[in-house]
């Protein structure tokens, strides 16, 4: 409770400082002011523009997120269980992964145009690598002794995958998913900034184009809100899908 109060006070103080310094210390043209931003944000909400553009970004992100995560998990499982194949593909994967994925945006614009598809593919590419690497490591981390014990019980590869490898990789997958939310947003928003007429990135770029600093901040606020909502959703999914971890958390607190 004390912490919460402290946080509220701190944020309030920062906003107050911002409000006062606008027009006195710094030019209001560049930094706008919290009251103006709040007004702009309220206008975005009232006119429904925030939800329209936000909705576009969410669709791009979610589609890219799902496609990237699904292929990432699948390829991670496949390579995790096939060391030979993983070794064979290693240089190619390392090369592609070393590339900052947003650098692929111009290429994707050429290939797929400036529509929603290009943002989905860009997002999917970014998410794929994060989830793939996490899943791969998760699979590789399964104790070989456990695998042998289950083999003696008569387990075949499909049993091992369903009963051991997928569940134990799941926590790694979630780590990858949590990690990829901000990156998925990067994919969608950068795609929109570069070329689009819809989405939060477009809203941001549009306000900047009109030299509307308040509008830029309002759009940024929208993006932050979206990111927080998604983080929360993944955490909720993790809690529901890995209930045994809840127990571990309780226990650690009890000790």
């Amino acid at each position: 409770m004390k912490l919460f109060l402290g946080r509220v006070l701190l944020i309030f103080a920062l906003l107050a400082f911002w409000e006062i310094s606008a027009g006195t210390i710094a030019d209001e043209f560049f930094i706008s002011r919290p009251t103006v931003i709040a007004e702009k944000f309220a206008a975005l909400v009232a006119s429904g523009r925030l939800f329209y553009h936000g909705g576009i970004t969410v669709v791009e992100m979610l589609a890219g997120f799902v496609a990237g995560a699904a292929t990432g998990i699948a390829v991670g499982l496949l390579l995790g269980r096939n060391e030979g194949l993983a070794r064979l593909l290693d240089p190619i994967l390392v090369a592609i992964n070393s590339l900052p994925k947003v650098a692929l945006a111009p290429l994707f614009i050429m290939w797929f145009g400036i529509g929603i598809g290009m943002k989905i593919i860009l997002t999917a590419t970014i998410v794929f690598f994060l989830v793939f690497i996490n899943t791969y490591n998760g699979v590789r981390n399964v104790d070989p002794e456990l695998i042998e014990i289950l083999r003696l019980m008569g387990a075949r590869e499909r049993h091992l995958i369903v009963k051991v490898i997928v569940p134990s990789a799941l926590q790694w997958v979630f780590a990858g998913l949590q990690l990829s939310i901000p990156y998925a947003l990067i994919g969608a928003v950068v795609g929109e900034i570069m070329a689009a007429n819809r989405g939060l990135g477009f809203l941001l770029q549009d306000a900047a184009g009109q030299l509307d600093t308040g509008g830029v901040f309002a759009a940024l606020l929208g993006i932050i809100g979206l990111a927080l909502m998604l983080q929360w959703a993944v955490r909720l999914a993790e809690r529901l899908l890995t209930p045994w971890k809840d127990v571990t958390r309780d226990r650690e607190i009890a000790v």
């Binding site: 104790d143 456990l146 014990i149 003696l152 008569g154 009963k163």
Partner: protein
Amino acid sequence: MGDHAEIIAFEKVGRSFAQKNGELVATRDIGVRIHEGEFVTIVGPSGCGKTTMLNLVAGLLRPTTGTVTYRGVPVAAINGRTGYMTQSDHLLPWRDVASNIAVPLEIRNVARGERRRRVAELIELVGLKNFENVYPSRLSGGMRKRTALARLLAYDPETLLLDEPFAALDAQLRVRMQTELFGLSRRLKKTVLFVTHDLDEAVALGDRCLVFSERPGTIVKDVQIPLPRDRNIMELRRNPLYQRVCGELWDFIAPAIERQAQEAEKR
């Protein structure tokens, strides 16, 4: 034990492993016959191939030389009639006690009702009543062992391969688990190969004790333990015969352990 059928036979068995600087001979020239229902303990210095011996019986490894036969047939694949338990209990953290125990039954496609009945029976057997729905992260070390033991017994393997299963437990709990394991193996007529570092444990549990030499390991002593088959593990401590056998085994194995310690120091 002559009246019981032979179940495992090692014939001049050796096993080496490829290493960066040539070949590491883990074991050589192992020859031993083990009979149904025998509780055989295996002791020896670290790295002498005790675990290798279990892996050969389980079919996780093939011998480099010689043959390992199980019920007269050379072991050529994973040996599903054996069950393995190691120092780590390897429970699945995302399954509660009952569902951990059910794993081998699920693998063997046992029908749901039958599975439930069997799991309940096993839970009763190892004394885990009222803990069916607890996740392993909430269990104590002893309960985790019990769960692992119940899971091991669930698919009814005729031979149990135990590799220092109680090494991580504190002394008191260890004696309790020893007592239970001993009782269960007798009641269920299991053949047991039990690797341990602890000579007292080897004497307390074994009908017979195999002593390994340093690497390349081979069996240098095969002792029948002159204690009754239905002994009371808890009361052994005061048994002079038990003390004498432990002492003799110590005297026999101490020089090797001493040598190993000295070599470790030199390094």
